[in-house]
Subunit: 322 residues, 3 copies
């Protein structure tokens, strides 16, 4: 946990939201706010990371996530190298540590890592040489910290007073690194009421003790909510004992226009994407006035730029809206 | 059609040659002329699109075409992101519109799109948000407008007076987006005589009414021509009823040195590549003094730079030859 | 051979170490020395190749090698285009020469080529137009000149007086383009004693006549050595008649701590990577104080930058250590 902080309390790596001090989290959101305005300008580049190299090290393919990190780095003027490790020389029988040591020797400044195994980003950060930072872009079921940051950033733009909010996270919380990181971020920001909603088999034990309200009934879960965060249903879970069927899941937990009426009138609806329309969310809701789903994508760029700039020690100027 | 023009009559998207005003087409060729000189300098970069982002969105793989668009954008100092959609999250069951909306939310300025379905570029342009331009890099059998522009640009460099020219397009016109776009561009530039040459089964109906001369005999088709444009033969057509065999096709429509002698003595020979030597064109002709096939590739870069700069509103300086 | 030199004796291409004059080789090492210091700065970029285009043309996949060349070019501010030819339009039946001619027409300045066939880089250089340079990144069993340059550069940083050195190259010399290039470079730099060590079946004939000492016994091979270069064992050789088994190979030629004790006390151990730990080298040796294996990777960047800058005629400033 403390691995990701310098002795002075700044971010060295971003591996998890767990243990991230509240003031640091807020500083990152403020920096993202400043950076979000440049995406609307014709010239989207800032010279903050000129001459730095960011390596996208994706052990698990994700074109979309890799693209947002690459764009974030390029807009800060960094050089970007994409390495798809599944096709690289690990297949030649080389160990992960040897691959990493080799990549480190190329003097990159930051590794953006995505891996199917929980703990992979920590492992890689532990073995990184002095001066190299690791940014977790999703590791197994463990953490997806930049997704959580962009989510709380999106919430704050609409509803700045977290203490007054009721936030409901709906779906397969058990297997979701997104939900895990969101719960931690929303807890750190002292959200008024935090709920998880889903079938009992998909809710990890022990959440009640952390002050989270667990609802197995969707109507109860979204009633009076200010923010509803829908999780992506991993269809492969359907085949196991966890879930009955897509139709049955939608009938019980799908976010329909009718259910959305139970929430606050100005409730916002979020989803990390990609969506399964008609499985976890109705199209009318996904495309409706409460949805901020595409705004999340735009905010993801600003938040990733903020994290990269903070970690690499760049001074981000305060920027006014255009 | 008008989708691609702003109310002021400038290009917003480039989807098709159809409906493109003559003066605009000529302006693009003039801009390309100005830009073509920088490819010969040691420093090939112009800062015209600095801070802009161009996304290559290829639903149909084409390393060569993608590379020319990427090089064109980089030489204008834009940032380039390559997305091979066949390997991206559309495979996760996401709809095309959701994928597009997500990519739009990343605030790119231009999408270069290639797709196997006719009309895909139009569809994507219709759903693009304000301020985002779409450049058609080939959609199904419909259009390939930058190929047509580079072809007429190449012709103009050799033979500036279009009204005096006889141009013959030879091959599978029916299934060729290149031919369709060339016919429109040459018509707009008021070429003296326009011919298509090939087996009746591969000539679309209705061309005669458009003033195009249809020749099923190769000798007649190339007789007295100033320009011969050979189309690539899609070998998969061979298996259907359309064509007899490669040997038979070459015997009837292959451009041999003997047939080339029927054309004007200073006739130029073009091909969009990649060539099937010995099927649609003899090697002696492809590599001979009449061939401008490689010049077409070089000109493709200048033309694509011109289109990008025009669409994104950059002021292209008039540049002298080095 | 002379294909790679200009009439003035400067490098035009880098295809092989064979025939490279000693003073030129030393000039490249000196330039690399100057450039190596910038990798340690926060801003790693030099504007030496701004506006130039380097195309990575890999007919044989190698993420690692391609990445080092891409990083080297980017740190010199060149634009980089990666082309994986196995997936490109050569599959559409186009000939290699047509593919090359098309790529040349895009006005790139340098092609970095890797190919499974010996002689491929020469062939490509022979067919390159005026003003286009070819850099061999490994062709079949023939040559891997930048690997040899980075190896002698690494040796020189530790042991500047080549005439006093005993260097042993251990392993499958017969099938190794790395070994072939290293033998030439070390010969040109007039190393005191040059040895190859391995089973007789994996040592090419005729080395003794070139002044190389051939040792089939590992103890004899490493005795008193200043530098030991381990080659990667191609596991696919194991299946043929060449080698008994991995265990047997390690027992006879693996570099163990015990065997390393036979070398000079300040002996350095090298390996081009990726390593087969427990096959050609013991982990204690690979990670031990004598190993300079990761330094080789870092030096590879500086050497590749030096070669690119030299070939493209950039004036490299003398840089002090940070």
């Amino acid at each position: 946990m403390n691995l990701q902080l310098t002795p002075e309390g700044r971010l060295k790596h971003l591996l998890t939201i767990d243990g991230l001090p509240r003031h640091l989290l807020i500083e990152l959101l403020d920096t993202a706010q400043s950076l979000s305005n440049i995406a609307l300008r014709a010239n989207k580049k800032l010279p903050l990371l000129r001459g730095r190299t960011v390596m996208n090290l994706f052990f698990e393919a994700s074109t979309r996530t890799r693209t947002t990190f690459a764009l974030a780095a390029e807009r800060l003027s960094a050089d970007v190298v994409n390495i798809d490790v599944s096709t690289s020389s690990t297949s030649k029988g080389e160990s992960l540590l040897d691959t990493l040591a080799t990549l480190h020797a190329m003097h990159c400044d930051m590794f953006v890592v995505r891996h199917a195994d929980s703990g992979a980003a920590h492992f890689i950060a532990e073995h990184a040489p002095e001066g190299v930072s690791v940014l977790n872009a999703g590791d197994g079921r463990h953490a997806h910290p930049t997704q959580a940051l962009l989510d709380v950033y999106t919430i704050r733009r609409h509803k700045p007073d977290f203490s007054a909010l009721t936030v409901a996270i709906v779906g397969d919380v058990m297997h979701s690194r997104v939900a895990r990181s969101e719960l931690l971020a929303l807890g750190t920001l002292r959200v008024g009421e935090l709920r998880v909603v889903g079938p009992r088999t998909l809710i990890p034990p022990g959440l009640e003790e952390m002050g989270v309200r667990v609802c197995t009934d969707m109507a109860e879960g979204v009633a009076g909510a200010d923010v509803i965060i829908m999780l992506r249903l991993q269809r492969e879970r359907m085949r196991g004992a966890f879930l009955p069927s897509e139709g049955e899941y939608y009938r019980r937990y799908g976010l329909t226009p009718e259910r959305l009426k139970l929430a606050k009138p100005d409730c916002i609806v979020m989803h990390p994407g990609p969506m399964n329309r008609g499985v976890e969310i109705a199209s009318e809701v996904a495309d409706g006035p409460h949805s901020v789903i595409l705004e999340q994508v735009s905010n993801g760029l600003a938040v990733r730029m903020a994290v990269m700039a903070h970690i690499l020690g760049a001074q981000v100027p305060v920027m006014e809206a255009a």
